[in-house]
Symmetry: C2
Subunit: 153 residues, 2 copies
């Protein structure tokens, strides 16, 4: 079985309005509209050429202030536990996060974006363009949809 | 500037029909319908509880057979170079890949999925549910859309 280890290195840092996790909107009905800046290491700037044409980007980042993990977690959206891989919980076997942000503008090695949900100072591992989208009609949202129905006022 | 390093470990292995990169459909008009299996390390199986309810999953994996990187790359979809972060090219500062797959069924610690585009034996770092989608009307696809128009027959 594959248990290989790999070392990754931050390509930059996210600057966001969030100094503590309590400030980050999460759970049912949370909207992620906060603006922030993805500051790349200056020597990587050429890697951003032509990124301006994309409206949405995937940001792969590190939950660097999460510690350890549980295989079953109760997310803020629900009162029942679920397998960690069926959630976006931070305490996971690899503390890797994924956020879709909207690109507002590029300023040299910095990307100004909307929709940040990570702490200020978070290390970024990768940015990729969103080039396709799952049609909403095809998306089944499992326990999350059930929790939303159940807890709807 | 953030240059921190992190160590990640495979949570499992992708079994796919692709023994070499030449077999993987890519570039303009490529469709990813191949089926494969994400085999999790047995001790992580409880982390998959309730994943069955989701139709689509993000798979975060390692381009473990890529070596080094270039900041500007010419993707198979185009004849011009672009910044690596404006592409999904494998040779990137952190060789991390992201694929959206459709979940067919779970079989214990294995997820049968459609839409794999990684080599057989590829280490998997994380799986997360797709819980939202960028509306197609809002998605701008930069150089990729331009290349598709230009090279259309």
């Amino acid at each position: 079985m594959n248990e290989r280890r790999f070392t990754v290195q931050a390509i930059g840092t996210a600057r966001t309005p969030f100094a503590s996790t309590a400030q980050i909107p999460r759970g049912r009905g949370a909207t992620h509209t906060a603006e922030g800046v993805l500051e790349f290491r200056p020597e990587l700037e050429a890697g951003l050429d032509d990124i301006d044409g994309f409206s949405h980007l995937y940001v792969v980042w590190v939950f660097d202030r999460a510690d350890g993990y549980d295989l079953r977690v109760t997310p803020p959206t629900d009162t029942r536990p679920h397998g960690v891989f069926a959630t976006h919980a931070p305490r996971r076997p690899n503390p890797i996060a994924l956020t879709i942000v909207r690109l507002l503008r590029r300023d040299g090695p910095s990307l100004h974006v909307a929709g940040v949900d990570m702490l200020d100072g978070t290390p970024i591992l990768d940015v990729k363009p969103c080039t396709s989208s799952v049609p909403a009609a095809e998306l089944r949202r499992g326990w999350l949809a059930a929790a939303e129905r159940e807890h709807a006022d």
